[in-house]
Symmetry: C2
Subunit: 412 residues, 2 copies
Amino acid sequence: MARIVMKFGGTSMAGIERIRHVAGLVRREVEAGNDVAVVVSAMAGETDRLIQFCREAASLYDPREYDVVVASGEQVTSGLLAITLQGMGLNARSYMGWQLPIRASGHASALIDDIEAEVLERVFAEGGIAVIPGFQGIAADGSLATLGRGGSDTSAVALAAAVNADRCDIYTDVDGVYTTDPRIVPKARKLPIVTYEEMLELAGVGAKVLQTRSVALAMRHRIRLQVLSSFEDRPGTLIVGEDQIEDYGMERQVITGIAHDKNEARVTLTGISDRPGAAAAIFGALAGAGVNYDMIVQSVAKAGEKTEITFTVPASALERCSDVLGKSRPEIGYGELIADTDICKVSIVGVGIRSNPDIAARMFATLAERRIDILAIATSEIKVSVLIPEDYTELAVRVLHTAYGLDTEEQE
Amino acid sequence: MARIVMKFGGTSMAGIERIRHVAGLVRREVEAGNDVAVVVSAMAGETDRLIQFCREAASLYDPREYDVVVASGEQVTSGLLAITLQGMGLNARSYMGWQLPIRASGHASALIDDIEAEVLERVFAEGGIAVIPGFQGIAADGSLATLGRGGSDTSAVALAAAVNADRCDIYTDVDGVYTTDPRIVPKARKLPIVTYEEMLELAGVGAKVLQTRSVALAMRHRIRLQVLSSFEDRPGTLIVGEDQIEDYGMERQVITGIAHDKNEARVTLTGISDRPGAAAAIFGALAGAGVNYDMIVQSVAKAGEKTEITFTVPASALERCSDVLGKSRPEIGYGELIADTDICKVSIVGVGIRSNPDIAARMFATLAERRIDILAIATSEIKVSVLIPEDYTELAVRVLHTAYGLDTEEQE
């Protein structure tokens, strides 16, 4: 007997037929003797519909009232799943975020502070099933708070931590985490297991299976996560701590996956005086405006000459970045700001990187063989990212996937 | 300066354009210096959509979970109206039923127990506008509770009572209460003012402008109600106590309105032994099953002979009525149960009835002139109802409307 939090995304909850299917998956875990809490998303499309209403009502809407509107989508699906489970003869009941409560700070992209486990422990003790709307909590002033898009994954992991769950199963419309995007590389393989760190790096560079926050939270609380399909009955991908990998006796590749992210922009500031403090002025201004930056390259200048600084920002933050740097131009002192969005960040991710310097070298050599320009490089313990011209994205991902031995042998 | 509760129905809240119009009506009251609380329904069609989901999820759904699902519709519109009002520069905020709280008993058709006015008084003191979802409250165990269809009228009146409002304005898609259904009698007139008692009798026999419960509650707390159109800018109908009518100096007709209700069924039990206790057995059984009955007629039997009892029930309760009486047949002792739904109840309503016995007599004479059979008669202080064959409904309403001088002189 185990204690399991099951989470179902919007595609899994889209309509009563699918909710009935979800109820069947819940029943299976209950009949296996497990304690089960279920976290649900709104029906696919519903949150977008509600957000659209808010935007039409006022272009600058109050995040607090926005939360009142959008939290309703998960309220509906949690009530409907409870009704469906009851219809199967199971002892189920819904508990809103404010009823448990799930305490959160902020609005529209609130953070979970803590979850009271008392009600849930009582439900488990009585052999019941708790159905909980994802994506929502209650703020200290008693107002509704939502966690931002994709927040239901985070709700599920936080609940799993609160009740000391043995596993948190994230049911979605893909059946696991792949070595790379199967639309680009048909020979991509589903990974049976990855570490939290690898999953974080993969999610951070474009693998959109799980919300990054939820993985970080799972890592902090050592919650065993599983990503699997609601629609196909086969094992998904386990996400665990590095020390737990060996328990599964897996033969691991040094590289776990290849990710790419086209939603980046490259910014170059020219004509910068080579004096101490220029970089601090630039990145201090960006940090102050909440703009994330990455992949900084500074050209080496001869004494007394001007230099250039290049870095990347999310494409969605480019406008804000230009504004901020325009205003700080007197303090920074630069010539031109040149922006380029026709670039892509391609990354190799794997815990093997940290112990093996050859791995990064192999990446650069593989790309050079295909004459793919590397515009910038960034490395972390378990990731190497390169910035390349966007046109070469698919080619780069494909040759790297082969170079690191990730291609599956099955014919697809 | 006055304190006003404004209530907007589903048609008035159907989409952002209409919500913007509603916000304009609210702004007008605020700019006139009034304290304003607004009660809103879900967008037209939304509650039906949510109920349909519940029915599809399980035919016998848990009323508690049903409440979780259907309460979401008003949550959405109250958040959206608050956003829209804020967009106009007004200080508005939504408060869910559980946040005030609005305490209620039961589920799916809960009754309001009381409303905490503290939050609202603070909002008024700060010059704010409170937007409150109608139709919902919180049960003693902390679960969501809804008041049953049309419950938002009741929410509005209960709120008006809780904050001692000077007036409760019910905005809807009709512009007031008419002397009769204008679809049947084009010469029907809008009533500038009616008493609570008249409104109750009119609502009880088919005038669907206001939920009966809300009128009864307004009467109990002496809340001045006004029914008016969200779409046309003209006075509606005031609903007040009888003693307040004179304040308006109205020249009143003895009859206020003619109502009809086709949703009735006539039930006749034949072959009943004329012994004490037969009626008690019948109506005790019905009351026990929650079936409302009305218009009882018992034929006079000769000593030792069998008799008949005829009465009406709502057509929707006919099946339950037949079940209950079938089971109680041994105790009651009757021959046949004959049901007829091709009948209609036509009623004249007016506070003048109680002081003027001629009024009922004129009703019977008017119908007799047109050879309309009267199958049963029921009278109250301010209402006389007759049961007639359904085919004659429109004719009866029209001739009575003329007979009591209710026809308007304007050409329509």
